[in-house]
Amino acid sequence: MTIFPGRRRAALALALSGVLALTATACGDDGGGAGGEGTEGSGKGKITFWDNNGGVRTDVWKEIIADFEKANPDIDVEYVGIASKEVQSKYDTAIQGGALPDVGGVGAAMLAGIAAQNALEPLDERIQSSALHGKLNAGMVESVKAAGGQDKLFTVPTSASNGVLYYRTDLFRAAGLQEPSTWSAFYAAAEKLTDRDKNRFGYTIRGGAGSIAQALDAMYGQSGIQSFWEGDRTTVNDPKNVAALERYAGLFKKNTPAADVNNDFTKMVAQWDSGEIGMLNHNLGSYQDHVKALGTEKFRGIPNPTLDDGTRVMVSNPVDGLGLFSSSKNKAAAWKFIEFAASHSSNSKWNKSAGAIPANTEAAQDPWLQEAEPTKLAAEVLFSGKATIVQLPYYLPDWNTISKADNEADFQKVLLGSMTAKAFADSLAEQLNEAQAEWKSQKK
C-alpha cells in the first residue's frame, strides 16, 4: 500500500532534511587515537587529555595546560574533565570502542585493569632519558609499578594521598580531651563526645560507597598486622583483624548517626562539616572542604591513630598518575605534556590545589607543604619510615569489584548486625585469595 501517493519526492526531501540536520550537528570524530597501534607523531599538533577527577580539578589543569601551551606553542591540548566516579567505565568503553585519548589520568586502583587490556604504553624507557629521571618519589614509582601488575611503569606518578583522622578541636577542648593519636584515645573520645539526645556524635563511619578501604585501614591500624598477604593467603580474616573490625563496626549507632549506614564520602563529609561530630576518617582530598566549612581553627587533620606502643600501620592509598595511551598517534607530544605536568612547577601547583602529596621530590620541598598541616603530617608519615604501609593489592584486576560492588552491601550488614565481622572477613578473604590465584596463573 502506498502511504504517500504522489508524495514520494516530499518524503524523500523530508528524509534528506533529517539527515542533513543530524550531519550539521555531527562534526564529530572517531575519538582521537581510535584503536590500532599508535605512532610517535611529529611532536606537534593536537593531543587529548582526560582528567580522571574532572570538575573539581578542572581549574588547576587548565592553568597547567595554558602554561604548557605557552612553553610549547606547536602543541594544543584538549582538556576533557571526567567525573571520578565514571572514569573507569569511560575508559573501558573507549578501550572496547577504540577511542582513547593520548594522555589520561589513571589512579593506581584502576591501573591493572587498563594495563591488562594493553591500552597503556610502558614508560620505563622514556623515564630513563627524561628530565624526570631521579626526581620522582621512589616509593610512589614502586607503588604504581606494583599496581600495574606487570612489573612495568604504566603511569608517571603525580600525587599520593593518605588516611587522615580529622577531629574537631573545639569539641575536644570543650570535653577536655587530648588529641586522638592512639586507637585507645580514639575510642574513648568517640564515647565521650556522643550525646544522642543533643544529636552529637563522637564519630561518623563510612557505611556506603568506599566503605571497604576505610574499614581495612581501621582493621590493620588496630591489629598491627603489617602485610596484606601471608604467602598466597590474605591476612584480612586474621583473628586480630576480625576483632578490630568488630570493635570498629561496634561504633555504629552507638557513637555515630544511624544514617551512616548509607554514608558515601559526600554525605560523610557534609554531615561532619555541618554538624557536631567529633571525628571523621577520610583522606587529604577533603581538607579544603573542611577549611571552607569550618575555617582552620575548629579542626585538625592528623595521621590515623597508632597502637598504644606507638606502632603505626596504615593501608596504602592509590597513587595518582598520568598514562600515555598506546593508541596515541602523537606520542611524542603526549609525552612532552606528561613530563611538563609532572615537573616541579606543575606538580607543585596541582598538589597544592588538591592538598595532596607531590610525587616530584622537588615539589615536595616547596613551602606550601609546610603550611598545610594534614598534608605535611601525612607526607612525614609516608616518608619517615616510622609507619608501616600495608600495600593493598591494586594489581588484581578484580580489586575494584571486590573492594566495592561485591562487598559494600555485606559491610552494611555487619554494621546493622545481620552479619558477623568474621563471616564478612572470611568471605572477603576467600574472594581475594581466589583473585590472587587467578592473577598468578595468568602471569605464568
Binding site: 500500500m1 572517531d30 570538575g55 574533565g81 571520578s84 570502542g97 563529609v269 555541618s274 575555617g295
Partner: protein
C-alpha cells in the same frame, strides 16, 4: 427508607452518613449519593495525608535550594543571608551555560525527531495490517527491556565508524532510537482512537491520505503529541549515559554530565552541586507546569487505547 439510601449507608460505614433524605417519589441516585458522602469527608482527612506527602516530597527540594542560595560554610536552616555565588560559579566557571544550551539542543532535537518518526510509525501500526504486525509490536515492547548500558559498546563502535564520537548528533540519534518504541506504541493508541470515518470523509472531499492526516487526525492527537513529546524531551534532558560516553569535549557536554563532575573523588562543592541541581530541574518543572493538563489526558488515553 429506600433501597438506595440503605446502599449508601452500607457503602459508607466509615464515613459520616448523609442526613439528607431524598424527596418522596424521587428516582434513586446512588452515584450522586456516593459523591455526596465523599464530599462530606472532613477536610483534614484529605489535606493531612496530602500535606504529609507534600512535605515528604518538598523537603529534599528545599534542601537543594537551601544549599544553593546560602553561603559556603553556613549551617543555617533558613536561606538567609542569600547568595547567588554558587549559581554564578556553576554557570560561568563550571560552564553550565554551555551545558544548558547543549542539553536544550539535544532535548528539542530528540523531541522533534521522536515525535515525527513516532507519528509515522504509529500511524502505520494503527491503520495498516501487514505481515508480522503482532511480532513487530512484541519486538517494540521487548526492546524496552534492553538497558542502554548493554548496547553502549556496539553503539560506541558504530558512532566511531561514522566518525560521530564527540558529536551531539550521536546522542540525538541514540536517544531518539531508544525513545521510539514506547512513543510509537503510545501514538498508535491515540490514532486508533480517531475514527477512520473522519479520514475517509476527508478523502471523499479530495484530500490524499497525508493531507487528510494533517488536517483531520493530527489536530485530534494534541494530548498524545504533548505526552510523547514531553516524555522524549524530559528523558533526553535527564539522560546521562549516552552523553557521558559519546561526548568528550567540554563544549559539547550536557547538564547531567556536568552535574556529575561537581562531585570529585575526595571532595565535593555542595553549594555548586545544589545550584547545578536547581539549574537542571528548572526546565523540567517549567515543561511539566505548562503541559500538566494535556499530559495526564494524553497518557491515560494512550494507556486505554494502546
Amino acid at each position: 427508607m429506600t433501597a438506595a439510601a440503605t446502599r449508601t449507608r452500607t457503602a459508607s460505614d466509615d464515613a459520616p452518613v448523609s442526613p439528607a433524605v431524598p424527596p418522596e417519589g424521587a428516582p434513586p441516585a446512588p452515584a450522586r449519593k456516593r459523591h455526596r458522602a465523599w464530599d462530606e469527608v472532613p477536610r483534614w482527612q484529605i489535606y493531612l495525608p496530602l500535606g504529609i506527602y507534600l512535605v515528604f516530597t518538598l523537603v529534599p527540594f528545599y534542601w537543594i535550594l537551601l544549599f544553593a542560595v546560602r553561603p559556603a560554610g553556613s549551617t543555617s536552616l533558613l536561606p538567609w543571608p542569600m547568595t547567588s555565588a554558587h549559581f554564578e560559579k556553576v554557570w560561568t566557571e563550571r560552564s553550565f551555560g554551555i551545558f544548558f544550551q547543549n542539553s536544550l539542543l539535544i532535548g528539542v532535537a530528540v523531541l522533534i525527531s521522536t515525535t515525527l518518526v513516532a507519528l509515522a510509525g504509529g500511524y502505520a501500526l494503527a491503520r495498516f495490517d501487514f505481515r508480522f504486525k503482532k511480532g513487530f509490536m512484541l519486538a517494540l515492547l521487548c526492546s524496552q527491556f534492553v538497558p542502554g548500558a548493554l548496547l553502549l559498546v556496539p553503539l560506541f563502535q558504530i558512532f566511531a565508524e561514522l566518525r560521530m564520537i564527540n558529536s551531539i548528533g550521536s546522542v540525538i540519534i541514540a536517544e531518539t532510537v531508544f525513545q521510539l518504541p514506547l512513543s510509537m506504541i503510545l501514538i498508535s493508541g491515540f490514532i486508533r482512537n480517531v475514527p477512520p470515518s473522519l479520514e475517509e470523509a476527508a478523502w471523499v472531499d479530495g484530500c490524499n491520505r497525508f493531507r487528510a492526516f494533517l488536517i483531520v487526525v493530527l489536530p485530534l492527537l494534541r494530548p498524545g503529541l504533548v505526552a510523547v513529546g514531553s516524555f522524549a524531551f524530559v528523558h533526553a534532558w535527564n539522560h546521562f549515559l549516552f552523553a557521558l560516553m559519546f561526548l568528550s569535549s567540554q563544549s559539547k557536554q550536557t547538564i547531567p554530565v556536568g552535574l556529575n563532575t561537581l562531585m570529585g573523588a575526595d571532595s565535593v562543592d555542595l553549594g555548586a552541586l545544589a545550584a547545578g541541581g536547581v539549574i537542571a530541574a528548572v526546565p523540567v518543572v517549567v515543561v511539566f507546569a505548562f503541559i500538566q493538563k494535556w499530559l495526564v489526558t494524553g497518557f491515560s488515553a494512550g494507556a486505554v487505547k494502546g
